[in-house]
């Protein structure tokens, strides 16, 4: 099944499915609504627990408001639900602790993740938040593959990794933001040093 044909329905754009299976309605933080099958939801530990706890009937699904997923936007959520529908019924993989971790990216997933790094970033956040183990595996594998054949300097650029000096500066800035008086004290100290004073107190 192609990515385009995956049975996730964006309510704004397509008709409501008429299948008798149980579907749930979810709403992204930008008010896009999706209908997702019960089986597909089982790929997400977070959503699965949520719908179990809610105990909705088919009528509830139609009559009550869609379940809000407040920190994921519609574009990302569409990818997530397309992935869940395509992989519905598949077993949740268990990590065997091997390194490098063996993760195959199926053709469907590769096409689904043929997206810019900004959206891939959001997809990983969503997979982590919704606890979709295999989606997290494949999306992380895609990011890991970016490191192949790269030198440390190239990795720094590929992954926007700060140097030790940059990390130190960021740590100092964070400390100062927490305690503005610390910066004042430091400036006062530096000023006294410039003036030749040998005692701060």
């Amino acid at each position: 099944m192609s990515v385009e044909n995956a049975p996730v329905v964006d309510v704004d754009e397509a008709a409501i499915p008429v299948e008798k299976k149980m579907y749930y309605r979810f709403e992204s933080n930008d008010k896009k609504e999706f209908r997702v099958s019960e089986l597909a939801i089982q790929q997400s530990e977070t959503l699965n627990r949520l719908v179990e706890a809610m105990g909705y009937t088919s009528e509830d699904v139609e009559n009550k408001p869609a379940i809000a997923i407040e920190n994921i936007d519609g574009k990302t959520l569409k990818l997530v639900f397309q992935w869940c529908e395509h992989h519905k019924g598949e077993a949740i993989p268990v990590d065997d602790g091997s390194v490098p971790k063996i993760v195959e990216i199926p053709e469907f997933d590769a096409k689904l993740m043929d997206i810019d790094n900004g959206l891939l970033f959001k997809l990983i956040w969503a997979a982590d938040y919704l606890n979709i183990v295999q989606l997290l595996n494949v999306s992380c594998k895609k990011v890991a593959n970016m490191a192949q054949g790269k030198t440390p300097a190239q990795l720094r650029r590929v992954y926007l990794l700060p140097s030790d000096e940059e990390d130190e500066a960021a740590k100092r800035a964070a400390q100062e933001a927490q305690d503005p008086r610390a910066r004042e004290v430091e400036e006062e100290f530096e000023e006294r040093k410039r003036q030749g004073g040998n005692s701060f107190f």
Partner: protein
């Protein structure tokens, strides 16, 4: 467009690192202290194997998946580079599963090697760690490194201690602090003739212990090891002792199931008496060897052989 790795959840960062090939993990650990920390917390215990080889004028670091089998043909040759007081020779396997870095120093050797070891061992401290100290390494330096590894809880797996000479105190410390059922220890060091070993209660329990200069060994202290190799200077054992030992092994009264002893006083004619009562099978023999297959109580097949003054018990033949 770069990928802002540090801004994703920690669980995802760990997943990404675990999914990288060994070469990428190694290079990632070199980017910054924080990257090294991420590697340290991401790699599950014993999933990688790290080997540190200390040489007279250099240091070799190898990193690979735990069950990786090294094939020289797979390794891409790289020309060495010389920077400052050292040359560096880095090689990787095709596919990036195997990393090999070798430094050769022209000055400040110990200090440089110490720093390299501290830097490279930290991110990979959850790996199965093998350490080898070659003949030119100084005893004090080797023991300093060993103490660092013990004190930091490194999961040591295999130690090769081949420094030229070592004090009784160092050997005793090495034996007692390495004494674990999963540990392999090789002591290739010349040991003072007066050395008396003080075993822990219950004796030693190494997976494998190999000693080149074995004049100090009392075999009774090592019967709970799985495999022992005692060669030069190993005190003579009587035929009766050896026959009793083999019967204990058959009755699983000790953990020992493989050994190699260099025995000066044992003659080929003694073999029949050594193996008496072990098996109904006939002794096989050639011009300068004799062997007998027998079975332990639990069904483990063993082969005992005598050849050129070496008595050899094999459990995997």
């Amino acid at each position: 467009m770069p990928f802002p790795l540090r801004r994703i959840p920690l669980l995802a960062i760990k997943e990404i690192i675990k999914s990288m090939d060994t070469r990428a993990i190694f290079f990632f650990s070199l980017v910054s202290k924080k990257s090294a920390n991420f590697v340290m917390i991401s790699i599950p215990k014993y999933s990688l194997s790290a080997e540190f080889i200390f040489k007279e004028n250099g240091f070799l670091f190898e990193l690979m998946p735990k069950d990786y089998i090294k094939h020289e043909v797979d390794i891409i040759p790289v020309f060495p580079t010389t920077v400052g007081n050292h040359s560096l020779f880095t090689r990787f396997s095709f596919g990036g599963l195997y990393v090999n870095c070798e430094w050769t120093y022209f000055s400040e050797v110990e200090e440089s090697i110490r720093n390299l070891f501290y830097n490279y061992s930290r991110p990979f401290k959850n790996s199965k760690i093998n350490m080898k100290f070659e003949a030119g390494t100084k005893e004090e330096f080797a023991m300093e490194i060993m103490r660092f590894a013990w004190d930091n809880g490194f999961p040591l797996d295999n130690i090769g201690f081949r420094v030229k000479n070592a004090s009784p105190e160092s050997i005793q410390e090495l034996l007692n602090r390495c004494n674990e059922q999963h540990m392999s220890l090789h002591i290739g060091t010349q040991i003072p003739m007066g050395f008396k070993c003080t075993p822990p209660p219950g004796g030693y329990k190494f997976k494998s212990l190999s000693v080149n200069y074995a004049h100090w060994v009392n075999l009774d202290d090592f019967l709970q090891c799985r495999k022992v190799i005692f060669t030069t200077g190993f005190p003579d054992l009587t035929v009766e002792y050896l026959n009793d030992l083999l019967k204990k092994i058959v009755d699983v009264e000790c953990r020992l199931q493989s050994f190699l002893f260099q025995l000066k006083s044992i003659n080929p004619t003694d073999f029949t008496e050594i193996v008496e009562g072990l098996s109904e099978s006939e002794i096989e023999q050639g011009e300068d060897w004799q062997e007998l297959e027998f079975e332990r109580k639990d069904g483990l097949k063993l082969l005992i052989s005598l050849s050129n003054g070496y008595l050899d018990l094999e459990d995997d033949y």
